[in-house]
Each structure stands twice: as structure tokens, then as C-alpha cells.
Symmetry: C2
Subunit: 491 residues, 2 copies
């Protein structure tokens, strides 16, 4: 794997100087095309051994390309803010938008890699982390990103020589740290781990390029030419095609399905409601003030038929909470900023820190509901989304976040009543739009999509709760009750 990179490649100054202007011009051309078209983003990982030229490469890239369209991320130790969130949160935040180039010196590889070298995790843990990376990059690639991963290598001899040379020169001495020498002593372990990591994560969609880092000119020229080739190839090709067909729903063999099986006659009288509401709100307030809740957080998702009473249910939840600790996030059609990112990006941004609650009024499930039914994305897009969403929620769960998902269900007749009422009452008029009526016409398709969604994303770690919402009061109590139970269970 490192054979080519230990040959001691070199490039003489004359050739380098002759070829550089052409390369730079071509790279700039490609970058401007990327910027203008905004069709995809470039994610560039710069990794490798100490002294292999990572820093200089990042410098070169910012020199050769227009730095206004480049975002460089150092990504060292996570900040306090970052540690409060799942591991991948900070990388999601740093993803470049379409048209941009994001350079990651330090990435989703760094932490598990170093921990393995230092013997803090086992092989199985490393493999799990690498599989997570493969899935993450697959999702990014499926969302259109171009991923280029550079690994700068030095043989053991050359690394030693290079560190010593840097140390000798007063101008560069500061760059060699204790940590570098400590790493050097672990060279063999480092190389063995790199071999494993590169083997596990070099995929057709996101391959590693291993580059001999010993000669500055060779290294830069090689990196530049690979970048140019891959970028040009993508710019000059039609957009990637995925001919994987949409996932079939369970065939309708009988008339039974999850939504029709709900007992919508469930209701509660006013007095019981008032009494229980107070009781449950009190319980919820206590639970989130429990010191043990500081190790957790809540992500609550509210989906449901139009006019099913999501807003009212959410207000009964927030009524129990201190405004400093929760946020209600209404989800509408994505903004231009969000459309320039993978679809999960705007939800990752809103993941709460520990001890906090995020309440989503509609959510990432739009992908497999409205986007599927209305054809806003391809069949392959919503098909893979089930998997991606499960992955996303598993990461939240792993971090201790309690994921509660509610589907508020009403009958088609009740919806009609509520629509009519909204149209009549002036102060509720804003709540009913043409779109609501249009959605209503596709009732059966939405029903199918909801059943598929529950079948494919209701998991042990993030179950769906179907809420009988024909009676609003009953629905609100069930939501509160579920939230309390789930939090209690997690503490």
C-alpha cells in the first residue's frame, strides 16, 4: 500500500517551475466552473504522517486556488461546545456548501486513528468507526459531494530525517513538537494502523490517494494533478445516475394497516384532561430538572396529518419547560443555504446540547413523506433515506440523546371538519392553505408513505409512537406520557 510512496520520488525545480503555471491555471479554471455551477461540493481530506507535508499542502491549495471559495478546517481536539454533541456534529457543521471546497486537515478519521495507535481502543472499535466513516462518505457521495482523500506518507528513515532537519533550522524548529517525536516512536504501529484504515475505507466513491511526501515539489505536483484530474472528470461528466428503483411498499393484501388499526375513538373528558395535564407537565418538569438528565438530551419529532394538532401538542410540552432549555424548530421547505447541503445538514445543526430539548415541528422525515409523494427527490434518494435516518438517530442515541417520534393521526373526515373550521374562523385562517387541500387529495399515498416510514424507521433506540389524535386532549396526554416514560427509562 505504501510501496510507491517509499520510492523516494522527486521532481527537479526546472520541471516543476515549467509545469506549475499550467497546472495552476487549469485548477483555477476548474474551481471557477465549480463555483459558478454550484452543482456539488468538494470535500478534501488531507491526512498522513507527521512531516509528510499536510500543512504545506493546505497552504499550497490556498495559494493555488481562490481562497474565497475554500474553507479550511483544522479540527483538533473538540471544544466544550462540540463535546456536548454527538461526535460527527462538528464535521456536519463544517461541511462545505455546493460550489465550495472544504479542506479537512484533521477529520472523522483522526480521533479513532490516534486512539488506536495509542492502544486506547480495540480493533473491533476501529473497524466500527471506519464503517461509520464509509457510511458517512457514501451518504455524502450519494448527495452529490466529490470526496478526495490524500494520505501523505514518509518512510521511517525519511520521517526521522525530516523531523531532524526541521528541528535544526531555527525558522522551522517551532513546528516540531514533543508530540511529533512521541508519534515517531510509534511509527510502526502508526503505519500498521494506517494500512488497516486505508484498506477499510478506500472505496470506489471515496478513494484514498497515497502520496510520497518526502519531496516538496513532487508531493505538491502530484496532489495538484490528482485534484485537477478528479475535479475535471466530475465537471465534464453528466451528473451521477443511480438506477436503483424505489423500495416497494408491503402489498395491500388485506385492508388492515398501521393507521387504520388505530382506535380513533379514544378520548378523554375535560376534567380528567385538566387534571392529568397538570400532573404530567409537573412530572416532565421534574424529570428534566433531574441532575441525571444533564447526561442526556431530548430530540422530539412531531409529524402527522395536516391539522392533526401538532402545534397544540407541542405547546403542552413546552408549557412544562423552562425556555432556556428547549427550542421548537419549525421545518418548512429548505432554504437556499440548506439546499446547497446534504438534506440532513439542517437537522444536524439543531441537535441540542446535553440537558436540552429540541422539538421538531416536522422533520427529516419530510424526505420519505412529502418529498417522496410529491416527487421532490428521486426514488433512490428516499429509498436510501431510511437507512441514513436510522444511522443518524443511532448516532444521537449513542450520545445519550432520547429520540421520541410522534405521528399524530386523524381520520380523513375529521381533517375535513378541521379544514372547514379553519377557513371560517378568521384568526385560524392563516393555518389553512391551498397546499393542505392538495395534500388531502393524496391521502392514500401519504398513508402508504407513513406506514412504510414506521416499518422502516421505528427502531428499539428510536421508536415511533402513533398517537390517536381525533381527540386533541387525548393526543396531548399521550404525547406527554410517552415523553415522561422515555426520559424516566433513560435516566
Amino acid at each position: 500500500m505504501f510501496e510507491s510512496a517509499e520510492l523516494g520520488h522527486t521532481l527537479d525545480k526546472k520541471t516543476f517551475d515549467k509545469e506549475l503555471p499550467g497546472l495552476r491555471a487549469a485548477l483555477l479554471d476548474a474551481q471557477y466552473e465549480l463555483v459558478e455551477r454550484r452543482g456539488f461540493q468538494v470535500i478534501l481530506i488531507v491526512s498522513g504522517v507527521d512531516g509528510g507535508g499536510r500543512r504545506e499542502t493546505v497552504h499550497r491549495l490556498n495559494e493555488w486556488l481562490d481562497p474565497r471559495h475554500i474553507e479550511t478546517h483544522g479540527m483538533g481536539t473538540p471544544s466544550d461546545e462540540e463535546r456536548e454533541r454527538p461526535e460527527m456534529w462538528r464535521f456536519w457543521r463544517a461541511l462545505p456548501a455546493k460550489g465550495k471546497i472544504g479542506i479537512f486537515q484533521g477529520s472523522w478519521y483522526s480521533d479513532p486513528f490516534i486512539r488506536k495507535v495509542y492502544g486506547k481502543i480495540k480493533n473491533a472499535d476501529l473497524e466500527e468507526a471506519m464503517d461509520r466513516n464509509v457510511r458517512f462518505e457514501k451518504m455524502l457521495a450519494d448527495e452529490g459531494a466529490l470526496i478526495i482523500k490524500f494520505w501523505f506518507h514518509l518512510s521511517k528513515d525519511r520521517q526521522e530525517k525530516r523531523l531532524k532537519a526541521l528541528e535544526k533550522d531555527p525558522a522551522t524548529r517551532w513546528r516540531v513538537t514533543e508530540r511529533d517525536w512521541r508519534h515517531f516512536k510509534l511509527y510502526d504501529k502508526f503505519k500498521k494502523t494506517a494500512d488497516r484504515v486505508l484498506r477499510l475505507t478506500s472505496t470506489a466513491q471515496a478513494p484514498w490517494y497515497i502520496i510520497d511526501g518526502s519531496d516538496e515539489r513532487y508531493r505538491s505536483m502530484t496532489m495538484g494533478r490528482i485534484l485537477l484530474q478528479v475535479l475535471r472528470q466530475r465537471l465534464d461528466s453528466p451528473p451521477p445516475v443511480h438506477s436503483i428503483p424505489g423500495l416497494p411498499s408491503l402489498p395491500r393484501v388485506d385492508e388492515n394497516n398501521l393507521l387504520r388499526a388505530l382506535d380513533l375513538s379514544l378520548s378523554v373528558d375535560k376534567q380528567t384532561y385538566n387534571q392529568k395535564l397538570e400532573q404530567l407537565q409537573g412530572r416532565l418538569a421534574m424529570l428534566v430538572r433531574d441532575p441525571r438528565f444533564q447526561k442526556h438530551a431530548v430530540v422530539a419529532v412531531f409529524e402527522g396529518h395536516d391539522a392533526a394538532g401538532k402545534g397544540g401538542a407541542i405547546r403542552r410540552v413546552t408549557g412544562a419547560l423552562d425556555a432556556r432549555y428547549y427550542q421548537v424548530i419549525p421545518i418548512a421547505a429548505p432554504s437556499e443555504e440548506a439546499r446547497a447541503q446534504p438534506y440532513l445538514w439542517r437537522f444536524w445543526r439543531q441537535i441540542p446540547r446535553r440537558g436540552h430539548l429540541a422539538i421538531f415541528d416536522r422533520s427529516w422525515y419530510g424526505r420519505v413523506l412529502v418529498e417522496r409523494v410529491e416527487g421532490y427527490c428521486t426514488e433512490y434518494d428516499w429509498t436510501r433515506a431510511y437507512n441514513e435516518i436510522n444511522d443518524f438517530e443511532a448516532q444521537l442515541h449513542q450520545h445519550g440523546i432520547i429520540v421520541c417520534k410522534f405521528w399524530l393521526s386523524i381520520s380523513k373526515e375529521e381533517q375535513l371538519e378541521r379544514f372547514k373550521a379553519r377557513e371560517k374562523i378568521a384568526f385560524k385562517h392563516f393555518k389553512i392553505t391551498e397546499e393542505d387541500w392538495r395534500n388531502r387529495e393524496k391521502w392514500d399515498q401519504y398513508e402508504q408513505a407513513v406506514c412504510d416510514m414506521v416499518d422502516r424507521t421505528s427502531t428499539d433506540i428510536a421508536p415511533w409512537v402513533l398517537v390517536e389524535a381525533e381527540d386533541k386532549q387525548f393526543a396531548r396526554l399521550k404525547v406527554l406520557q410517552t415523553l415522561c416514560d422515555r426520559i424516566k427509562q433513560a435516566l
Copy 2:
């Protein structure tokens, strides 16, 4: 995930009887189209809880379809023969050819699943096994296979009722075993593990379908209709397209590369050769007779330029071995049988049992050498092959198999000499063909492919050894020496 499958779906006899003939006719039509076109194979996994109807489903399938084109695999505990090989070997052997339907009752899911339920492995191990399955199925799908995975589910109540009912009836009593009741006691653990397994392995290319198993008619009709839908969808669509471009090679920045860096002047005189040859052959013979070798096996791969002396080197190896314990496998263009299978299939078949050696004269690397250079496969095919091959070899390594890969390298001039000599000497004439001359014209392209191959598949667990073969004697000694060292190291 199991919500829909716990609703207690049913189908009345009248509707069933009315719909069945049409379904069966349509399924048979689809099957015959599959058989005639031989464009892809169907891999059908039948899994789920005890009493959920797996057995009956397999029975149904064999009744409804033409059983001559179905292969049903029970896949219980591995046989002695199978235990001698890597875990996936028996599944590779059982893969259906294009045009066939392979039904797996018991599959690559069963063993890790059961071991997790019984607490014999940890979560991380389960996740690793499931990632292996995802990679395996991705490869199968990329090779064209249609994968359909059924999971038959029963709620806890229904499972208990069903087991009791089966036990009551003298005609079915035999079917309920101690094991079934033992499993039932683990129902909750079983379901939790299933939730995890299905979540991790339900991908767009190989999704799970969870079916309520409680009512025989509902279950069969649902299964039949999903099968029909998925099969028809595939038969009626153009073949899947992958627009992922081929992996770029390292740009040629200087004139140095792995093959050119070899010192082809290395040679050895006749006397030293004879002496060393005897010595190394003796050492090799001793090593494979070492009792500890019975826990290992050797897979040796010989690749090289045409006329580089692979045959001669192989004979010097086998000269040291007892014919009962090794096999030389010459690899030519794939047979019709092999072409109806994923490309790695014919190599998996030849994996040696413990204590044995398999020597491949050319190998699976044909995919990234001749098939790449001659355009016998798509760019996406050879690009993903690097990864698939690394995966394959990692599985061999995990099983204790020592994987030795030799590239025998000669200069273009030396090759010309040898070609000419072969044409002159009558008994060597058969060794030189038109194809050899044609390959020679593409020397540079092959050189590039070899360098890429080494860079992308030479790993710690299965390194490439580049052998300077301008002097045949030197090459033979280096091969023997390497083999001895690698075996020694593993013992």
C-alpha cells in the same frame, strides 16, 4: 419496525383462492423470463422467528415456481469440511448461477444472530458481522444479483400460541423442538437483536421485508406479491447503471515507479542457486509438516509479465511439497459456469482446507489487470474490485490463511528475447501465442495497472512481493525464501 407485522393481518380463504391462480401464473412467467435471459440471479433469504412460517414459505416457493430452477439451502451448523474454510466459503459455494433462484433458509445472518442472542458475542462483534454482510451483499448486487430478504415475524403472544398449537396436533408435534422453546424464552432478546440486525442491514440494494407470519394465507400472498413485484421491476428495467468513473492512477510526475525501481540485474550463480534451492525446499517441506501448520493454510498467487517464469517458480515450490497437500490452479478466461457467477466465485471454490496450499497461476487480480486494460469489465467494476479483493483476502487472513502474492517482473527487452526463444524451440512453442504479442504492445498500460494494483491491494495482511525475475534462478529463490519466511512468521 415490527409494528405492521404485529397487527394480526389475515386473508380469508375465498379471496386467497381467487387471487392465487393469477399470482402463480405471473410468478411462473417471471421465472421463465429469468431462466431464459440468464441476466441475473435471485438470492432469496427466508428468515425470522420460529413458527413464523419460514419452512412453509420455502415449501410454497417450490410449489409455485418451477423447482428445477430453484436451489434451496438449509444451511444449519457447518460441516467439518466447511469449518476448515473461512466462514463465508459455504455461502459462496451455494450461490445460484444467473437465471436461478437460490433460497437461503439460514444464511450469513444466522450464526452471528444466534450467537448474539445467546450472549456469546458482543454488540461490536455483531456490528462487524453485519457490516461484513452489507459489504457482501453490495458486492453481489454490484455483480448483478437481485437480493430479496424476508423476515417473518410473530408477536410474543402469537408465537406462544402457535408453538402450542403445533405441539397439540400429532401431525405437527415433531416440528416443535426443545430448541424452539429455548428460543421462545429468549423472545425479547431475540426481537431486540432482530431490530438491530434489520436496522443495520436493510439497504437500498438489499432491503428486508418484514412480514406478519401469523396467518398462513396472508403471509404467503404477501411474500408472493413482493417477490413478483421486485422480480418484475428488475426484468422490466434496463440493467442497472453505475456512472462512477474509474479510479485515476497516480499521475506520472517523475519517471520512477514500482516496477522501474526494481534492480533487475540481481542474479545468482549456478552453484549458489543449486545449494540454496535445496536448502530452501528442505526448509519449506519442514515448515508445512510442522504440526502448527495444521491451523493454517497457504494461498499463493503468482502474477507477472508474460514469460516472466511463473511456471518455473511454481514448480520449484511444488517440488518441495507432498502432492496430497497442495494444488496448482491455472487461471484462464472464465468458463461459462464461472461467468454466470460473481467474478470471485471461481476463486472462493479453490480455497484450501487447513494444512493445505493452493497455488494460483494467475488469479483474481485478472480483474484489475487484463480485464481493466482490455476493457472486459466496466470502469466501476475494476474500481470497486480493489476493495472487494482486500475484503476477500482479509477473510482468508482472519481464518489463519497465509496469503502470499508474487509479481514476477522482467524488462521489455528480456521479454522479447524469451518470446523469440519460445518461437524457435519446438517444445516451447505452445507457450507463445498471438495474445502474448498483443499484450506486449500494451506494456505501459499493464505497467500502470500493476503499480495501481500494488498500491491498492498490498496490505499488511496480504502484501505483494515484487520479484526481480530477469534472472530466473534469483526469482525462484526469492519466492521460496518469502514463502518460508511468511509461514515461519505465522506459526
